[in-house]
Structure formats: structure tokens, C-alpha cells
């Protein structure tokens, strides 16, 4: 199981990584990218089973990344969870329409991420 964590905040990447490790994954099970451009590059190099992405990022934001992933390629069907501060209804709908499988509003607890990950991975 390989996970890709995309967030421009190094602190957030570490927080998410920590929660992922609490779920039983090891440090080798996930990679990190600081924006959509780098994430897209990494996705072209390796196969991932789930993508956890922020929305607001420089260069290429999370929404554009989701649209790009869903438009084709090896990861077209890979589950994507968006983890963002954008808590508006409009934003959630926009993200869901773009193709995210689940949505988490920051700040979140480890339990929430566990639940969402479990839910996405079961499908």
C-alpha cells in the first residue's frame, strides 16, 4: 500500500504522515509532494494506492491536480481524499464534482482521517 501526501506546508505533511503511521503504515509506505506539479511528476514515476491532497497550493493547486489525475493516466481510479481549510459548501461540491472521493476540513483529528481512509480503502 503506497500513499502520496500532497501539501505545501511541511508541518501538515508531517502531521498527516504521523497519522498514517499510527494506522500501521511505515515511513516507506508514503511519499510527499509540496504542490500539484511535483505530485504529478511523482505520480508519473510510481504507482500509488491513495492520494491525500491539500487544495490551496502554489504552482498547481489540489483541485487542478484532482482534475488532471481524473482526466487519464495510471491513477485515474485511485482514491483521492482532499484535506483542506476550505470548509464552504460550494468548495466541497466543487471538489466532489472534480472527482475527490472524500473531503476533510482542517483542523481534523487522527480519528477522522482514520475513518475516511478506512472508508475509501474498503471501496
Amino acid at each position: 500500500m503506497k500513499i502520496l501526501i500532497v501539501d505545501d506546508s511541511s508541518t501538515m505533511r508531517r502531521i498527516i504522515g504521523n497519522v498514517v503511521m499510527q494506522l500501521g503504515f511505515s515511513r516507506d509506505d508514503f511519499d510527499e509532494a509540496e504542490d500539484g506539479v511535483k505530485a504529478w511528476k511523482i505520480l508519473g514515476e510510481s504507482q500509488y494506492d491513495i492520494i491525500l491532497t491539500d487544495w490551496n497550493m502554489p504552482n498547481m493547486n489540489g483541485l487542478e491536480l484532482v482534475q488532471k489525475v481524473r482526466s487519464g493516466g495510471n491513477h485515474q481510479k485511485v482514491p483521492i481524499i482532499m484535506i483542506t481549510t476550505e470548509g464552504g459548501k460550494g468548495e466541497v461540491i466543487t471538489a466532489l464534482k472534480a472527482g475527490v472521493n472524500n473531503y476533510i476540513v482542517k483542523p481534523f483529528s487522527a480519528e477522522i482521517l482514520k475513518e475516511k481512509l478506512d472508508g475509501v480503502l474498503k471501496k
Binding site: D7, D8, S9, S10, T11, M12, R14, I15, N18, Q22, W55, N56, M57, P58, N61, L63, E64, T85, E86, G87, G88, K89, G90, E91, V92, I93, T94, L96, K97, N102, Y103, I104, V105, K106, P107, F108, S109, A110, I112
Partner: protein, 339 residues
Amino acid sequence: MSMSQEEIEALMSGLDIQEDESPAPEVQEPEPEPAPVIEDDNTSMSEDDIAELIAQTDVPSEETQEDSVEALTEDTVSSENIDDLINSIEDSSSDTQDDESENIDDILASIDGMDESIPEAPVAPSAVETPEVNAEPAVESIPSEPEKEAIAKDWTDGQIDQGVFPFPVEKNTKVVNQLSEVATDSEEKASKIFDVLSFILDENNEIQKNSKKMDEFLIKQIVLLDSLSKKFPNISSFKTNLELAQSLQTVPQDIIDRTNAENSQLFEAMELMQFHDINRQKIERVMSVIKKLSTYLNNLFEDETDYHDVATAKHIHGDVNSNLVDEQDLDALIAEFGN
């Protein structure tokens, strides 16, 4: 409008999604953060630099005392000869009186030549101090260049504090620059805090591993000592050690429990650090607003005509200004000059 996780869940179930919902929001991309500001002036000093400076300026206390005693002695001598000094001043002043009266016109002329609009500079603290008794003429008390600069700086700072003058546009006072620095610096510090928390987590994991090994060893020791104390009931040390081992059996588990509790606190602290990211985004939102406001104001005040700066009147009728002349003053002045 923020959504709760329950509402998001409801949306996930497709209950609430409508095609005609509010339009897709404008995706806010944070502005790329500018490169860290390198300040040539006002560079901050490290602790070592400060210590070095302190060492350079430090004077042994005994030496200081000696100096002060000497100074006091000198002061005392000068006060003893105060009459002589006063006499010499009077003599010198009477000698120079004629010269001064000759130069008075030049001085007045130079005063007349000065711009009246120049505000009076506040008296520097050094100038307020009791003047030293000095045989030199009073003309020598004109402040030196550094003193003038200090006076000017004090005055300017006072004007800035009163809100008369704005802050000078420097790297340290540029709002967006400062906010950007705050965001970047706090990101770095948050990362370091995370390092510390991760280190404690790793150490706790090591402690737990060792505690488990200790627990296993203690269990084996208890079994061994139990059998030995049964086989050799006359040897009291077996029984004593068995009792000691049994009493310590709870310790490893207690350590594991305590480190588990500590780990959960650490995870909570890590979760709370999400607020750093949230606050950073709030700062970036403020930066964005300021930048847009700046652009708007630039657009608003932009002059597309071929406007050139023209000379403007300093004193206009109707101004509230004590420098304005009325008819009488005007006539008096004209008469005085007799041109």
C-alpha cells in the same frame, strides 16, 4: 459557510449535491513567498556578537570606581577654582564683546537667511544637562555633526510617534514583507517543534521496547527465584530476591503505560500544530487583501494625463497660519525695507 463533517458525510452520500448550487469558488492560490529579506542595515546580532561587544565595553568595576573618584577630584578642583574661572570668563567675554558686536550683523544676517519654516528641534538630553564651567566662549557649544544627527533623529522619531510623519518605507516596515517573513519563519519554527516532538516519540518507543525486555527478564527471574526458594528454603536470599523481583514486576508495565499516555499527548500536540497551517493561510489571505488594495489604490491615483508637478503656494488667504501677513504688516514691512 463552513461545513461540519456530518454535512460533508451527507454530501458524500449524494443527498445534497445539486447542479445549480453556488458557483465554483475562485480557487485561491497563495502568492509565492518572496525570497527571505536580507537586510544590509539593521542586521540582527547573534548572542556571540553581543557577548563580544559587552566584553569590549566592559570595564573592571575597580577601574570604574577609580575613574569616577578621579573625575570627582577633578570636579572638586574645578569648583575650588570657580572664582578664577568666572573671572577669566568675564575677562574673555569683555575682550570678545567688541568682536562680537562687530560680528552681530553677520550673525543676524545669517539668522535672517534661515528658513522660518524649519521647526525647532527638541533639545537633546545631553544639552539639558548642566553645562560645564568652561573658559571657552559660548560659540564653541554648537553641536557637532553626530549630535545634530541625534537631535534630528529624536525629532523625527517624535513626529512619527505622534502620527505626523509616516514610517519611512524600509524593508522592516513594508507590511507584506513583514507578514511574509512571519509566515515563513513560523513555518520553519513549527518544523523544528515537530522535530522535537518526533524525537520524544522515538525515544518513548525505545523506552517501551526496553521496558518490554525488562518485563520478560523479570518474569524469568521470578520463575527461577521461585523454584530456587522452594528447593532451598533455608537460603533467605532467594526468598528476598524473589520478593524484590515480584515487587518490581509492575514497574516495566508502569513505564509502558506512562509513555503511552505521553505519546497520546504528543500526538495531540502534533494535531494542534495544524493551527499553524491555518494561521499561515489567514496571513496569506491578509497579504492578498493588502496587495489587491495596493493595486486598487495605484489604479485610483494613477494619472494618465501629462501632468507635471507645479509650484504651489505656501500661504494662501484663508489659511490658519500665524505667518500670514495682514495689510498693516505688509505696509510696515514695505516701509521698513524702504525699497
